[in-house]
């Protein structure tokens, strides 16, 4: 070879050389191989000698036709066996069909895999099936809980959209616009609603958030940005308080506020209980989010001469804005669903009460609980409708939180980036103007003489 060869080409050359050697070996058998090695001008490839033609077949990656057929066959067989034992013979109740089919599926599938594959592959398939089953059971039971609650809420919904009820539009929405005042246990679903609970929830969670958000964020910033021994102590106490069972928080407020001071349950006491419960959750999740801020962002701010407060306000908090919003929304979702502390502190009423400082004030989960304690089917239907509404509320909050959390820390949307660029340009203009102005005037550092 007289032409110059660049390194990457040489590499390719080597590979093609090795390939052609291999082909040659395949053509000529052993004799060819020895010659190729002995010829001395090629790369010596010891693997060629190690490889023997009668290597056993290995476990291959991916799905072959065999795998797919085994799987499909096992599924068919398991369904058939399940149906045979339940529906046809009637040996086991029909409710056992999924369990029976699953057990039979695992058995037959493992056996079929065992016929054609070595031990490790059989184990792998078996455990894959078990892990799938765990995932399906968890997602399935969640779907069951959500689906059942939403489905049982349909009685009230049916009544709302019943064409025979001869109510106008506003009256149809009675479930959200009236309270349960004056509604007896035998009244039909066309009367009464959950306005009192809805308003109660909004007021209680509003007061709780008005305290929790500023206090929680301040404390989280203190733990993350200032630190020190006192901060570590606060963090330990907050961590301990996340273990406080919700009913104990309710009991504390009941004994310390209601029994000792107000003498009757009220909405504000429920808000206090929610504050005690939501603060540690809020602080911990914000603390975790604040730790995600890269250290070099902070250092860049400090290096530009910003003080600690300026760095926190202009760099740290904007960077994790979406994460903090998520933390707030998730804390709200948990707070709305809290039942036990509200049960102990808010009291139960069927009437609308908008004053959090006097008289009992029901919230949504509490209303659902009290409805279901009644024996009448209409009351239970109302309870499920309330629970379904609560569930929808939590779902909406959760989806909102997810949508916001989709943004990574420090990543901007198009609009945000555009605004940021515009601001940066105007700053640059301001600086250059100031520079021009100062060079026309004499800058104070220069000698006025």
């Amino acid at each position: 070879m007289t032409t110059t060869v660049r390194p990457e080409e040489r590499h390719n050359l080597h590979r093609s050389l090795a390939q052609s050697l291999q082909e040659e070996r395949l053509l000529a058998g052993d004799r060819g191989r020895h010659e190729a090695v002995a010829r001395g001008h090629g790369t010596h490839l010891p693997r060629l000698e190690l490889e023997s033609e009668d290597d056993a077949p290995r476990v291959t990656i991916g799905y072959s036709r065999d795998d797919v057929l085994t799987l499909v066959g096992s599924i068919c067989s398991s369904i058939a066996v399940g149906l045979l034992f339940t529906a046809v013979i009637g040996l086991v109740p029909i409710g056992w069909l999924p369990v029976l089919a699953f057990v039979w599926f695992v058995l037959i599938y493992t056996c079929l895999v065992f016929l054609r594959n070595p031990g490790p592959a059989v184990q792998d398939r078996f455990w894959t099936v078990i892990l799938w089953a765990a995932g399906v059971v968890v997602v399935g039971s969640l779907a069951l809980v959500v689906g059942f609650t939403l489905f049982r809420g349909h009685d009230v919904l049916d009544q709302m959209f019943d064409p025979d009820s001869k109510q106008d539009l506003w009256q149809r929405l009675h479930f959200f616009t009236t309270d349960m005042g004056g509604v007896g246990p035998i009244d039909g679903l066309e009367r009464g609603g959950i306005l009192h609970a809805l308003v109660g929830t909004l007021i209680q969670i509003g007061i709780a958030l008005a305290v929790t958000i500023p206090l929680g964020l301040t404390t989280a910033v203190f733990l993350g940005e200032i630190g020190g021994r006192f901060a570590r102590f606060v963090r330990t106490v907050v961590e301990a308080m996340t273990a406080l069972p919700s009913v104990v928080a309710g009991l504390f407020i009941y004994a310390a506020v209601i029994v000792a001071i107000t003498r009757q349950p009220n909405g504000f006491a429920a808000s206090l209980a929610l504050i005690v419960l939501m603060l540690p959750i809020m602080i911990r999740s914000s603390d975790v989010v604040l730790r995600l801020v890269p250290g070099n962002l902070r250092e860049a701010g400090l290096a530009l001469g910003a003080g600690q407060w300026a760095v926190v306000w202009h760099v740290v908090l904007p960077t994790v804005r979406s994460g903090l919003t998520t933390a707030i929304i998730l804390a709200t979702a948990h707070g709305i669903g809290e039942t036990a502390p509200v049960l102990l502190t808010a009291g139960y009423t069927t009437n609308l009460n908008v004053n959090p400082f006097s008289g009992p004030m029901t919230s949504l989960p509490l209303a659902a609980l009290e409805f279901v304690k009644n024996p009448q089917t209409t009351m239970i239907a109302r309870g499920f409708a309330t629970a379904a509404f609560l569930l929808v509320l939590v779902l909406v909050l959760f989806v909102a939180a997810r949508a916001l959390a989709g943004q990574e820390a420090g990543k901007l949307t198009d609009g945000q980036a555009r605004r940021r660029r515009a601001k940066s340009r105007s700053t640059l203009q301001r600086i250059s103007h100031a520079h021009v102005a100062s060079s026309v005037r004499l800058s104070p550092h220069e000698d006025p003489a």
Binding site: T128, V145, V372
Partner: protein, 347 residues
């Protein structure tokens, strides 16, 4: 090359430079502007307020509880199953047994489910529906407990009673599964024997703690180093072989820690248990039998009629539960932090 061998010997620049020995580090001074000082003050006082609130809760609980426990003595408080503060005769033996039994049933249900789901999400669903599954599991954590309670009471209980009966008929010879008064030969068995039991409450609570356990285990499994995973594959492991050799040992701390956090949640669960159980005041070790109790549900049931010592007694029970949960939670975070995966728990 020439510089280093100039003059036939190695040439070195002057190093250390002259005067280095006598030089001292410049003293670094923190200069805080007024704005910074104000900020630090506000943040510190925020921390202080939180500390005061939390301290007040703990202090109040402790003072009230000590009053009650002093009346009966610690030993009697822990060993008495009855609850009548009016006659100075109360204790948490039955409550605590019920609480722990429900939590154990919950863990037996939740541990395989959540470990399996966590592995499913990290290993099998990777690249596919992984994000969706993570969202679904997190969503499950946000479902209000009253919804789980209603579901357990109205849907699960009727559905599971035949299964309870089947277990007690076949395995009734094990004391844990025995049901007093059950007659296997009765053609019309009495379903009410099997309702409101530890088993059913434990099942519902188990479902409720699956999300928290799953998310902590998933976190630690997903941190198993990619190099070790690929090393296992390169040595010829199947996927399960890799999971057993790399992921599970790596995530062991996460599994233990997650399970303990789940246990803490299960102990403190109130409303679902409150709705399902039939409260009794003797120690009932028969899991499938009607009647059990738990500290949290007991507080929710009895707070209204309590006054004076009764309230202190409830506080004492609450404090016992709080201390138990706290010990478990701190152990859990220590286990998680010391493990190799060192997963940050976001519980």
């Amino acid at each position: 090359m020439t510089a280093t061998t100039r003059g036939g010997r190695t040439w070195r620049p002057d190093y250390p430079e002259e005067g280095t020995a006598s030089a001292r580090a410049r003293r670094v001074r923190h200069v805080f502007e007024p704005a910074d000082l104000a900020f630090r003050g506000v943040a510190r006082s925020g921390g202080l307020i939180v500390l005061v609130i939390m301290g007040m809760v703990g202090f109040f609980l402790a003072v009230q509880a000590v009053q009650a426990i002093q009346r009966v003595g610690v030993v009697e408080f822990v060993t008495t199953p009855d609850w009548s503060p009016e006659t100075n005769h109360f204790g948490i033996a039955a409550l605590l047994t019920g609480t722990v039994l429900i939590a154990i049933v919950a863990l037996i249900v939740a541990l395989p489910l959540s470990a399996g789901t966590a592995l499913f999400i990290t290993e099998i669903a990777a690249g596919g529906p992984q994000r969706v599954l993570i969202s679904i599991v997190d969503l499950m954590a946000a479902i209000p407990s009253v919804v789980f309670g209603l579901w357990g009471l109205i849907f699960l209980q009727p559905a599971i009673v035949p299964f309870s009966r089947w277990i007690s008929e076949w395995f009734g010879w094990i004391p844990l599964f025995a049901v007093d008064g059950a007659d296997p030969h009765n053609p019309l068995p009495d379903d009410s024997l099997y309702t409101s039991s530890t088993f059913i409450a434990g099942l519902v609570v188990g479902l409720m703690v699956v999300p928290i356990m799953t998310s902590i285990m998933r976190e630690s499994f997903s941190r198993a180093p990619i190099g070790e995973r690929e090393g296992a594959y390169a040595l010829g492991a199947t996927r399960w072989g890799m999971v057993r050799a790399v992921v599970l040992p790596f995530g062991r701390g996460g599994v233990i820690g997650g399970t303990m956090l789940g246990l803490g949640r299960a102990l403190g669960e109130t409303i679902a248990i409150y709705l399902i159980i039939n409260p009794i005041f003797n120690i009932n070790l028969h899991l499938l039998q009607n009647g059990t109790n738990s500290i949290a549900a007991h507080i929710a049931l009895r707070y209204g009629e309590a006054s004076g010592l009764g309230m202190s007694a409830l506080m004492a029970a609450g404090l016992a539960l709080f201390v138990l949960t706290m010990i478990i939670n701190f152990t859990a975070s220590a286990v998680i932090a010391r493990s190799r995966s060192g997963a940050e728990s976001e519980a």
